[in-house]
Symmetry: C2
Subunit: 227 residues, 2 copies
DNA sequence: AATATGCTTCGACTACGGTCGAACTATGAA
DNA sequence: TTCATAGTTCGACCGTAGTCGAAGCATATT
């Protein structure tokens, strides 16, 4: 009853419906303003503001002021990771918010998870990189191998700028729909944005859905075959 | 606001202080009765009963009736995993329930996490098994290699009975204190109970602390050196 | 300056849910 | 059968926290 960190506080923060909606909205990886989040949660701006300050004090968010706007994003990958885990539990106990709607299959196919690719395609990417020896798991943490670094640069990803960033390069993130790992970290983000540049994929503006173009799917298949 | 599983419900379940206390108590891996959990949470038996039925409906617990007792344990490793994740967030935002008490260092050194070894020693074990090629990570899931199977049997672990169980053999579980992975799954449990048989370690009855005997620490060092 | 927009703070209202006492059921012991 | 112990159900109480209107700041735009 006394040892260990205080779970209840954090969980209670996530446990309010309005706040949970905001957090899931932020799982898209985009930074959103107070009013956008209010809209997303279905509450007035005042209450949204109150909720956001609480989430912020709880260390779940990262606020940035820009002019008269205030942008919020998730604090870090750990937060996203826990949220995905909770989604897994909720999905497992059959508590989907919408019972396998048409969007649902799209979400399972490919979606954005805090700026990196998740869903079926996300785990395919991850498995492929591991299988080709581009990524290696040393105990806990993923590392980019030499061949992996070459591959990334040949894929027009600038590793130096990624490395200069203080966020970890590769991380694994558990997928609630696939129940498998996909690639997170700044490299994961770089891959997704590169896919966008190549217009292999397109991110839906309002949801987390990621759609592959016909050509994009073909190229993805070619480069990241899961033989 | 509409897609994805309903996080809020699960999080709210964990978010109540009394329930959170029960869940952390169950992180020891032991099944506890209603009255024990009531004691642990600091509430009367009636309220405990109500809490437990809610947690159960939420799919977080696994109840078992035995005579006039009713035992509860965590439903599965996923639940434990999410709880550890939440502990990580809480610890990260500086919300420790007790500020680095004397127990705290013991907990970080070695503790029990849903019946397997966690903390510093837990991650050491995991890293060693990976480094020696006893465990391999194929994309998402851990697998026991051939040499690993030999090692386990030489360590008096009966793999056949473990495999006959329907729970996964090896899983990784994120450690909130170390922020690294340690070994979960039935193999993880088997290792811990084997350590107990060898009296390398002793589990505290009331807390999650695991203490290594002098000899146990030496032997552990010898077998699972982190060179 | 004057006005508009984005966000925060304050205060009051309300409701949901945690809490326990008391009564009830079920299993085991004498 | 009778008593004791473990757990559940019911009902009533109460507090906390989510909610919004209104007013107050702060940053842009004219």
């Amino acid at each position: 009853m006394k040892e260990g960190p205080d779970i209840a506080h954090v969980a209670a923060l996530i446990g309010d419906p309005a706040r949970a909606n905001m957090l899931t909205a932020l799982m898209s990886g985009k930074a959103l303003t107070v009013s956008e989040l209010a809209e997303e949660a279905g509450v007035t701006i005042q209450t949204a503001s109150s909720h956001l300050s609480k989430l912020n004090e709880g260390g779940l968010l990262r606020p940035r002021k820009q002019g008269r706007h205030k942008y919020f994003s998730l604090a870090n990958d750990d937060v996203a990771h826990v949220l995905e885990g909770l989604m897994g539990l909720a999905a497992g106990s059959g508590h989907l918010r919408k019972r396998t709607g048409p969007k649902d299959t799209e979400l399972r196919k490919a979606r954005v998870c805090y700026n990196h690719l998740a869903g079926d395609m996300g785990t395919q990417l991850f498995d492929s990189l591991i299988a080709q020896g581009h990524l290696a798991m040393n105990g806990e943490n993923l590392t980019l191998t030499e061949t992996g670094a070459n591959f990334a640069t040949s894929f027009q990803i600038d590793l130096d700028t990624l490395r200069s960033n203080r966020t970890p390069l590769c991380r694994e993130c558990l997928d609630w729909s696939e129940r498998r790992s996909h690639l997170a970290g700044s490299l994961g983000r770089a891959f997704l944005s590169r896919f966008e540049e190549l217009s292999w994929v397109k991110r839906d503006q309002k949801t987390r859905v990621v759609t592959f173009s016909r050509n994009g799917a073909k190229e993805f298949e070619r480069q990241f075959a899961v033989n």
